[in-house]
C-alpha cells in the first residue's frame, strides 16, 4: 500500500479544496493557495495583484479599492480626557499598508472628522514618501452651512484643502452630497453664487484634474446635473451602490437607476457606501450562515465589495477602513477582483437583500453627518445600538418573547454602555436640525422617539 505522509495528505486535500472552489465559482482564475509548502495555513496578502480601472477620458489607472478618509481610527485625546482625536500613527500605518498593496485613490472632505480629515490625509501622504503622481486625491466642496454659501467662502474652502493636503492640485474634486435640500439648495450652494463656474475655471487651469459630484437624496437634483452634462462636463460622479439599494422605490437611492444614467453618458462612477457603514458586514447570524454557506472562506464583507466592484463602468469603490483587518480583507477581495456572476449578483440583490431587510434595522451608516447634535445627543450611537440589538435578536416584540428577560437586560445595559446617559434618545427635543444632514434620509427625530418609547417599555416592563 502506498504510504502518504501528512504533508502529502494536506497537499492533496488542499488541491482538492482549491479544485472544488474553482468548480464552485467557475470564474476564479487565481487559485487561492491557503497552505504553504510546509502545510501551514497562510494568510499572506496577495501583493501586486490589485485590480485597476482606467478612466475612459484621461487614462488614470485607479485602484478598484479607494480609501475613504472618514472612519479613521481614534484615540483618547491626552490633553482632554473627555474627547478623542485621530490616531495619526495608526492612520499612517494604514496608509503605508494601502500603498504597499496597490491602493492609489484617497477620498477626503473638509467636513469629515470634525474637519480634521484633510489634514490627516496630508500628513499620511507626506510621510509615505510617495511621489505626488503615484496617487490620486479626491476631496470635496462641503459648503453645507448657509454661512458658507458665498463664492468667497467656497474659494477659501478649496484653497484650504490644497493647504491641508500639501499639494497644488486636486485630482478629483466633488460638489459634496448634492440632493439634500433639493434644487433650491443646489442653486444656493453652487450655481447662483458662481462657485461651480469658478471650479470649472480651476479645472481648465489644471488645479482640478477631474470635476464631479457626490449625490444623496432628491433625484431631481441628480437628473438636473446629468441633463446639464454637456455644459458641466462631469469627469466622474460618486453614487451609493450596494446590493441592498440596487432596487429601491426611492429613485434617489435606486442603484440600478443611478448607475445606468451614468453608463448612458459614459461618466465613470465612484462608489460610496458599498458596505453601508458596516451594515452589510454586521448582519444577523443566519445571514452570516447564508453567505458563508456559499463561500465559507470568504468574509461577509467581501460579497458587498465584489458586488460594488463588478460593474465595468466603476472607477473605484470607496471603503472607510478603520482597522488593519478591514484593509487587509478588502485587499484580499480586490487582489484581484473576481467579478460576480450574473447569478451571484441576483442572489445578492434579491434573496440576500430581502433576508437582511426583513430585519427592521434603521439605515444608519454611521457617517456622523448629523453630528454634532446641538442638544448633545449621540445620534449614530443610539441608532447603531438599536440596529445591533435588532440583529442580535435583543429587541423583543413582547413580554412573552422566549428570551425576554435576557434581551431586555442586553438592550438596557448595552444602551448605557454604548451611549452615555446624557446623550440618549430621551434628550431629543425634535428640533429637526439633523434631518437635512442625513444622506440616508432617515427621519432621525422620529426614529429616536420610537427607540425611546421602546426603552421606556422595557424599563417599565409595561406592554
Amino acid at each position: 500500500m502506498k504510504q502518504i505522509n501528512r504533508r502529502d495528505f494536506l497537499k492533496i486535500s488542499g488541491t482538492a479544496a482549491t479544485g472544488s472552489a474553482l468548480a464552485g465559482c467557475g470564474v476564479k482564475q487565481e487559485s487561492a493557495e491557503k497552505l504553504d509548502p510546509a502545510g501551514q495555513h497562510t494568510t499572506e496578502l496577495p501583493k501586486g495583484k490589485m485590480t485597476y480601472r482606467t478612466h475612459p477620458h484621461n487614462g488614470d489607472k485607479v485602484s478598484i479599492l479607494g480609501y475613504g478618509w472618514m472612519r479613521l481610527p481614534r484615540k483618547k485625546d491626552p490633553n482632554n480626557p473627555n474627547q478623542d482625536m485621530i490616531d495619526q500613527e495608526e492612520v499612517n500605518r494604514l496608509c503605508n499598508k494601502a500603498f504597499e498593496y496597490g491602493v492609489n485613490y484617497f477620498d477626503t472632505s473638509p467636513a469629515y472628522c470634525q474637519g480634521k480629515s484633510e489634514e490627516s490625509l496630508g500628513i499620511a501622504l507626506e510621510q509615505s514618501g510617495r511621489s505626488r503622481d503615484s496617487y490620486y486625491i479626491a476631496t470635496k466642496l462641503s459648503n453645507f452651512s448657509p454661512t458658507q454659501w458665498s463664492l468667497e467662502a467656497g474659494q477659501q474652502m478649496f484653497e484650504n484643502s490644497l493647504k491641508y493636503l500639501k499639494t497644488d492640485y486636486i485630482d478629483y474634486l466633488l460638489l459634496h452630497s448634492i440632493g439634500g435640500g433639493g434644487l433650491d439648495n443646489l442653486r444656493k450652494r453652487y450655481l447662483d453664487n458662481g462657485l461651480l463656474a469658478w471650479l470649472m475655471e480651476q479645472r481648465a487651469a489644471g488645479r482640478i484634474r477631474n470635476l464631479g459630484f457626490s449625490f444623496h437624496g432628491d433625484v431631481k437634483v441628480y437628473d438636473y446635473m446629468l441633463e446639464h452634462h454637456d455644459e458641466y462636463k462631469w469627469d466622474f460622479v460618486q453614487i451609493q451602490l450596494n446590493y441592498i439599494d440596487w432596487h429601491d422605490n426611492d429613485k434617489g437611492r435606486d442603484g440600478e437607476y443611478l448607475y445606468n444614467e451614468l453608463v448612458k453618458r459614459n461618466i465613470p462612477a465612484v462608489i460610496m457606501e458599498p458596505l453601508l457603514g458596516g451594515r452589510l458586514s454586521k448582519v444577523p447570524d443566519h445571514v452570516v450562515a447564508h453567505l458563508k454557506s456559499r463561500k465559507p472562506e470568504d468574509s461577509v464583507a467581501s460579497w458587498a465589495f465584489r458586488y460594488a466592484g463588478t460593474p465595468e463602468n466603476i472607477l473605484t469603490v470607496l471603503s472607510g477602513m478603520t482597522y488593519m483587518e478591514h484593509l487587509e480583507d478588502n485587499i484580499r477581495t480586490y487582489s484581484p477582483l473576481v467579478p460576480l456572476t450574473e447569478e451571484e449578483a441576483r442572489w445578492l440583490d434579491g434573496e440576500t437583500a430581502n433576508l437582511i431587510e426583513s430585519y427592521p434595522t434603521i439605515p444608519c451608516n454611521d457617517c456622523k453627518y448629523c453630528m454634532p447634535c446641538p442638544y448633545a445627543l449621540d445620534i449614530p450611537a443610539i441608532l447603531l445600538h438599536y440596529n445591533k440589538c435588532v440583529n442580535q435578536g435583543n429587541v423583543p416584540e413582547s413580554q412573552q418573547a422566549e428570551n425576554y428577560q435576557k434581551a431586555r437586560r442586553a438592550f438596557l445595559v448595552g444602551y448605557d454602555r454604548s451611549v452615555p446617559r446624557l446623550r440618549q434618545a430621551n434628550r431629543c427635543i425634535s428640533c429637526r436640525e439633523c434631518v437635512s444632514h442625513c444622506p440616508q434620509n432617515i427621519d432621525i427625530p422620529r426614529e429616536l422617539q420610537r427607540i425611546d418609547r421602546f426603552v421606556e417599555k422595557l424599563k417599565q416592563d409595561k406592554w
Binding site: 454634532p372 454602555r417 428640533c431
Partner: protein
C-alpha cells in the same frame, strides 16, 4: 467554641449587612432586607412588634448578643480593636451611668422633637449606615465599575457601570469624624462607645441583666489572675470583686476563652425572672459592691461543685445592680409623638423668596449654555453636556412612600440605605438642618422613575413606608413649575416639548407659545407670516395639570435647558393620592 460561633456569626452578619448597605442593584434587599429591619431602633420606629419581641426574647436569653452579632457598628469596633494586636489590653472601668442615661434621654428627646437625624447621630445602625454610605459605597461602586469594564470586554451584561459621585460633603465629613471617634475609642478601650454613648446598648443593658444565660465566675476556681478583666472589651469584669456588669457585657465570650482555670462559664445561675436590684435584698444580691470575695468559703468549696453552684448562686455569681428609676426607661417610648409645633415649619411661604427665585432664574437664563449656536460646518464630534444645577425649591421633595415631610423627619435616622439603593441617583443626604442627612429628592442626575419603589422597599424604619408600583405612580410628592424665562419655545421661538413628551403621567400639555401661531379651518398650522407651516416646527410651551402631576421630575431632568431647567418640581409637605 461559643466564642468561635459568635465570631463566625458576627462576620457573616456584618459582611451581609454591609453588602445590603452598599448594594445598588436591588438584589441584596430581596434576601437581606430583614437584616436592617431587625435592628432595634428601626424596629422601634417602625413599630415592628414581632422584631421587638424577638429582640427582647433574645436579650433575655443571651444578654447583649445583639451587640456582638447583629449590630454592624459593634462588629466594626471589634474589627478595629482586633487590629491592635495586643492581648489583654483592657481594664475594668466603672459604668458611666449618668452619661448612658443622658444619651438615652437625648435620643428620645430628639425623636419627640421630630429630629430623627439628631437621634441618628448616636444610633448604631444608622451611624454604621452613614459610614458605609459615605466611605464604603463609593469604593464598592468603583470596584463594580472595574468589573463592569471587564464584563463589557467579554460582552457580558451581568455587571453594569454606575455613576460614582459625592452625594453630600457634610455627610461625608460627619461620617469621617464619627468613624474617627469610634475607631479611636475602639482601639483604646474596645466597646467604650457601646457602653457610654450608644442608647441602644443602654436600653439592651436594662434587659440583659436579667439574661437567662450569662457569663459567671466560679470563685472556687478563680485564682484572681485578672486575665478575664483584661480581655474584656466591654470593660465590665471587675476581677478583684469577681463581678460582671451584665448591663454592659456584650456576650462576646472572650473572657471564657482567656480564663485558664475554666472559672468563667456560661451559666444560668441567678434568681430567675426576678429583678436583681437593691430593692429585694432578701435574695442576697447587693449589687456590684456586695460581691466581695470570701476566701474561706472559696477554699472550702469542693472542686466539683456544679450542682452546688446551682443551689447557691448568690455567692458565686454576682450581677450588676441596675438603678431602680431607670427601669422605667423602656416605657418612655418616643416613637409616635408628633408634636403639632413642628408641622407648620415648611409650609410658611415667604413671598420674597418667590421673587428672588424668579429673578435668579431669569439671570441664569441669560447665561444658559445650551447648544452650540455656531452653525454646523463639519461632521462628527459632540456638543458639550451641560450639567444641571438644583433649583432653589421652596418645599423639599420627599420620596414617594414617606407620606409627609413630618413622617420622614420623625422616623428617619439617616442610615443612607435608601440613598445608596436609589438606582436613579435621585436621593442624596439633605444638608438642611431640619432634615440633616435624611434623604432628599433632586433631579440633576436622574428622575424618580415610574417603575421604581426601591427606597420604600428598603427603608427599615417606616420613614418611607412600603408602597406598590401602582400606589407609587398615583402618589403626588410635588408638582411641576414652569419657568417662562428659560423655556426654549417661549424664549427662542423654536419647538421643543420634551417635558410633555417624557411626562409619565401625561400631566403636561403643549399650547402655542404665542397667538401668532394658529390652526386654520383645515387643521393646518399658520405661522406669524400668515403662511402654512410644518406643525412640528411650531413653538409650543408646556402647561402643567397640577392635579395629574406626580412630581417625578422627568420634565426637570430631561429639560434641554441647563444648568437650571426651564421646568422644575416643587415638593409637597404632605403627599396626596391622585
Amino acid at each position: 467554641m461559643l466564642r468561635k460561633i459568635r465570631i463566625s456569626l458576627a462576620a457573616v452578619f456584618w459582611l451581609l449587612i454591609t453588602w445590603l448597605l452598599v448594594d445598588f442593584t436591588g438584589t441584596a434587599h430581596v434576601y437581606l432586607g430583614w437584616m436592617a429591619r431587625i435592628q432595634l431602633m428601626p424596629a422601634l420606629l417602625a413599630m415592628n412588634v414581632g422584631v421587638l419581641i424577638f429582640l427582647l426574647a433574645l436579650t433575655l436569653l443571651w444578654g447583649r448578643i445583639y451587640c456582638s452579632v447583629i449590630c454592624p457598628l459593634g462588629v466594626m469596633q471589634d474589627i478595629i480593636s482586633w487590629f491592635r494586636r495586643k492581648k489583654f489590653k483592657y481594664v475594668y472601668t466603672p459604668a458611666r451611668t449618668t452619661l448612658r442615661y443622658a444619651m438615652v434621654l437625648f435620643t428620645g428627646a430628639a425623636l419627640v422633637l421630630n429630629l430623627g437625624w439628631l437621634a441618628g447621630l448616636v444610633l448604631p445602625y444608622s451611624t454604621y449606615g452613614r459610614i458605609t454610605g459615605a466611605i464604603t459605597a463609593p469604593l464598592y461602586k468603583l470596584a463594580n465599575n472595574a468589573l463592569a469594564q471587564l464584563a463589557e470586554h467579554y460582552d457580558s451584561y451581568a455587571v453594569y457601570e454606575v455613576d460614582v459621585w459625592l452625594k453630600s460633603v457634610s455627610a461625608l465629613v460627619i461620617a469621617l469624624i464619627v468613624w474617627g471617634i469610634i475607631a479611636v475609642l475602639a482601639w483604646r478601650g474596645g466597646r467604650t462607645w457601646c457602653n457610654t454613648v450608644c442608647p441602644v446598648g443602654t436600653l439592651l443593658g436594662l434587659v440583659s441583666r436579667y439574661a437567662w444565660y450569662r457569663p459567671s465566675i466560679d470563685k472556687s476556681r478563680c485564682n484572681a489572675c485578672g486575665l478575664c478583666e483584661r480581655s474584656c472589651k466591654a470593660g465590665c469584669i471587675n476581677s478583684k470583686e469577681h463581678s460582671i456588669d451584665l448591663s454592659r457585657c456584650v456576650m462576646c465570650g472572650d473572657c471564657m476563652e482567656a480564663c485558664r482555670k475554666e472559672a468563667l462559664t456560661l451559666s444560668t445561675e441567678k434568681a430567675p425572672f426576678k429583678p436583681v436590684t437593691n430593692r429585694n435584698p432578701e435574695n442576697g444580691y447587693k449589687g456590684r459592691n456586695a460581691g466581695k470575695p470570701r476566701p474561706a468559703e472559696e477554699k472550702a468549696a469542693p472542686r466539683n461543685n456544679k450542682p452546688k453552684v446551682a443551689a447557691q448562686p448568690k455567692d458565686n455569681v454576682v450581677a450588676a445592680s441596675p438603678k431602680p428609676e431607670t427601669a422605667e426607661a423602656p416605657r418612655h417610648n418616643p416613637r409616635r409623638r408628633k408634636p403639632k409645633a413642628a408641622t407648620a415649619e415648611s409650609s410658611v411661604a415667604d413671598p420674597g423668596r418667590r421673587a428672588v427665585l424668579a429673578s435668579t432664574a431669569f439671570l441664569a437664563g441669560a447665561a444658559v449654555l445650551r447648544a452650540q449656536h455656531k452653525p454646523k460646518t463639519t461632521d462628527g464630534g459632540y456638543a458639550p453636556i451641560i450639567s444641571k444645577k438644583a433649583p432653589q425649591r421652596q418645599h423639599r421633595i420627599t420620596p414617594p412612600g414617606s407620606v409627609s415631610l413630618r413622617n420622614l423627619q420623625s422616623h428617619c435616622t439617616a442610615c443612607q440605605l435608601c440613598v445608596d439603593a436609589c438606582p436613579n441617583d435621585v436621593l442624596r443626604p439633605s444638608s438642611s438642618l431640619s432634615t440633616f442627612m435624611q434623604p432628599e429628592v433632586s433631579f440633576e442626575r436622574g428622575y424618580c422613575r415610574p417603575e421604581c419603589n426601591r427606597c420604600s422597599e428598603v427603608c427599615p424604619t417606616g420613614a418611607i413606608k412600603p408602597i406598590t408600583i401602582e400606589e407609587r405612580t398615583a402618589t403626588q410628592v410635588g408638582h411641576a413649575v414652569w419657568v417662562k424665562e428659560l423655556c426654549i419655545p417661549a424664549k427662542e421661538g423654536k419647538p421643543c416639548g420634551n417635558c410633555s413628551r417624557r411626562c409619565p403621567s401625561g400631566a403636561i400639555q403643549l399650547v402655542p407659545a404665542s397667538d401668532k401661531y394658529r390652526k386654520n379651518e383645515h387643521g393646518r398650522w399658520i405661522g406669524p407670516d400668515g403662511k402654512q407651516m410644518d406643525g412640528r416646527l411650531v413653538p409650543m410651551i408646556p402647561v402643567v395639570n397640577v392635579e395629574k402631576c406626580t412630581g417625578c421630575g422627568a420634565c426637570e431632568n430631561l429639560c434641554p435647558v441647563g444648568p437650571q431647567s426651564a421646568i422644575y418640581v416643587e415638593g409637597h409637605d404632605v403627599h396626596r393620592e391622585i
